[in-house]
């Protein structure tokens, strides 16, 4: 089966000028390649600074890579014209790590939810509101909060809202950039289960970026390990966890605190 997303040798270089004015380039992505099959979850795991957020931005078409190819449903997004890209972007949605800054704190919840629809020019006003209410229900938020400003929500509620907003345009691929890292443990579990449930009912593909190997194991079918701007290992979760091939993977595994004699939590079937 043709993978829904194929990343090929993606390179992203940031040009900066240092203190005296001489250019000092920073290489965030150094030839990243991997594939994701439709309807599955790929977890990209790596320590801070390995380039994960840059990767997320590039795939979501919020930044342009310096080199490489990005195949989405068979089309190379690097070569697509801007006008077509406007239609493709809604199908790839990004959930940010900080729930406080990804939603405009002055806006009301209803406004936040219908903004994507307004921007894409879809549906009438009444239909937009109905759609918003059904989305709220989907993610487990009660609909009497719609008139409140988003600053009044808790962290977990905000992420649910962010997920609801991402779902407004029926995306095929959802990228979660450390989406659970800012939440409390119990809330993390709730949102994780929500995601699993959404995936099975909507047949979506998830790209789950995290530094938390345990969460990756729980949620993902496949794991790709990223280090210093490159993918060093990719494979089914069970295999990666049982037989890490690369040093980077071993270090990540070793960082997980474990009780003696406990076996590693069973991965998702």
């Amino acid at each position: 089966m043709e993978p829904i997303l194929k990343v090929e040798n993606l390179v992203k270089r940031y040009a900066k000028r240092n203190f005296v004015g001489m250019p000092q380039d920073f290489l965030a992505l150094d030839g990243v390649s991997f594939t994701v099959s439709a309807g599955t979850t790929l977890a990209i795991v790596g320590e801070s600074g390995s380039g994960k957020s840059t990767l997320a931005s590039c795939i979501a078409c919020l930044e342009t890579p310096t080199a490489g190819n990005l195949w989405f449903e068979g089309r190379n997004l690097i070569q697509v014209a801007e006008s077509d890209l406007r239609k493709i972007r809604p199908q790839i949605q990004l959930i940010f790590s900080d729930p406080a800054s990804s939603l405009n704190p002055r806006w009301k919840i209803l406004e936040i939810l219908i903004e994507p629809l307004i921007l894409q020019g879809r549906l009438s006003r009444k239909e937009r509101n109905t759609h918003a209410f059904s989305l709220l229900e989907r993610v487990g938020l009660s609909s009497d909060i719609v008139e409140r400003p988003s600053s009044e929500l808790s962290g977990g509620q905000r992420q649910r809202l962010a997920i609801a907003r991402a779902l407004t345009l029926d995306p095929k691929l959802l990228i979660l950039d450390e989406a659970l890292s800012a939440l409390d443990c119990s809330v993390q579990a709730q949102i994780a289960n929500l995601l699993l449930e959404l995936q099975s009912s909507l047949a979506m593909t998830f790209l789950f970026i995290t530094h938390d190997l345990t969460m990756a194991a729980h949620l993902a079918d496949e794991i790709a390990v990223m280090s210093q701007g490159r993918i060093v290992e990719q494979g089914p979760s069970t295999k990666i966890l049982r037989n890490p091939g690369q040093e980077a993977t071993r270090q990540l595994l070793a960082a997980v605190p474990r009780l003696p004699h406990a076996t590693f939590p069973a991965t998702q079937q």
Partner: protein
């Protein structure tokens, strides 16, 4: 917002103060330009309620002045000549708000003129000149502050949003303007434009000059906000939904600047009124005979006036309640209480 609670009383105070000045024609007893050469440099007339026979009158009155015997410029109260104050009298014509002709004044007296704040060298009533002068000074300050903020807002938003060489260029120019000592710049620009112009031209000239001098600081503040707002995740998310630059600026980024703009307004208006006063005081502003708070004070530069006619100083204090109102408003508007913070210096940032 609970901020509204803190802000509202100051707005009320300012509204009342400005209202009195706007309706100067009503509150002032006389036309500010009208002269009375027989009564130059009259001291302020005191209000009395009890007369020489120890009778209490409900209606306040003043005594007319006569020359002290043997002197030609010292006055004393003539107790045989009381002038009761009448309220809501018909007096000199004026135009309310510049449009509606009217003749009603808050107070006045029959036949004789009352000088509650004294008179100047030409016998003009200082109180009337003070009230009408406020119209000129306050308007200059308000207009000037308005233009400066508009210019600063546009430039700051453009610099912050587009970044790159545009940002660098605009901020370097801003630094230049900030480096110039503003008072000197003000004088230099004003003086190097035609000096002898009619009052209306002079007024607009001053407004333009004041506005041109002060745009740099608001521009930098707005730029800072736009720069940080531009990188916020909700802006990136909106871009991901297909938002255009104009949409992002209009709906997400520029609303963030509203707080700083409001505070700057409250801070700049009194400064600009003061700038007009300073210019007029030194003869570079609104010329005679049109009164402005500045040129009411300009004859204090003569030693003789300073020594003998102390009431000519009183117009200097008129700014105090206005300053107080605007200062209170600025404090109430700010997120953090207390003095406004100086920008912290750090390397490389243009702030």
């Amino acid at each position: 917002m609970s901020r509204w609670r803190k802000v509202a009383p100051w707005l009320l105070v300012l509204a009342v103060l400005h209202g009195i000045v706007v309706c100067a024609g009503f509150f002032a007893p006389y036309d500010p330009i009208e002269q009375d050469r027989k009564n130059p440099y009259l001291p302020p007339m005191r209000l009395h309620f009890v007369d020489t026979h120890k009778h209490l009158h409900l209606r306040p009155f003043v005594y007319a002045f006569t020359l002290r015997p043997g002197s030609f410029d010292q006055y004393m109260e003539d107790t045989s000549h009381p002038l009761p104050l009448k309220f809501f009298v018909a007096g000199d014509r004026y135009r309310l708000l510049g449009l509606l002709p009217a003749r009603l004044h808050l107070f006045g007296a029959d036949n004789e003129r009352i000088y509650l704040l004294g008179s100047d060298a030409f016998g003009r009533d200082q109180l009337s000149r003070l009230l009408f002068g406020g119209q000129v000074s306050l308007l200059a300050g308000l207009l000037g502050a308005g233009f400066t903020l508009l210019i600063g807002w546009c430039i700051g938003a453009a610099a912050g949003y587009y970044g790159g060489w545009r940002d660098d260029l605009l901020m370097r120019v801003a630094e230049l303007f900030l480096a110039l000592p503003w008072l000197y710049l003000l004088f230099a620009i004003r003086a190097f434009l035609p000096l002898a112009v009619n009052p209306l031209q002079a007024f607009f000239l001053i407004v333009a000059v004041i506005a041109a001098v002060g745009w740099a600081r608001p521009a930098r503040l707005v730029r800072g906000i736009v720069l940080s707002a531009k990188e916020r995740d909700f802006v990136r998310a909106a871009r991901g939904f297909g938002a255009s630059d104009v949409y992002l600026l209009r709906r997400h980024i520029l609303p963030e600047t509203s707080s700083v703009l409001l505070t700057q307004t409250a801070i700049l208006i009194p400064q600009y009124v003061l700038a007009e006063m300073t210019l007029s005081f030194l003869g570079l502003g609104v010329p005679e005979p049109v009164p402005s708070w500045g040129n009411l004070l300009s004859n204090l530069q003569q030693y003789s006036v300073l020594v003998s006619y102390w009431w000519m100083y009183l117009p200097a204090l008129i700014m105090v309640p206005f300053f107080l109102g605007y200062l209170g408003l600025a404090s109430a508007l700010q997120e953090s209480p207390g003095a406004y913070k100086i920008e912290r210096r750090s390397l490389g940032s243009l702030a």
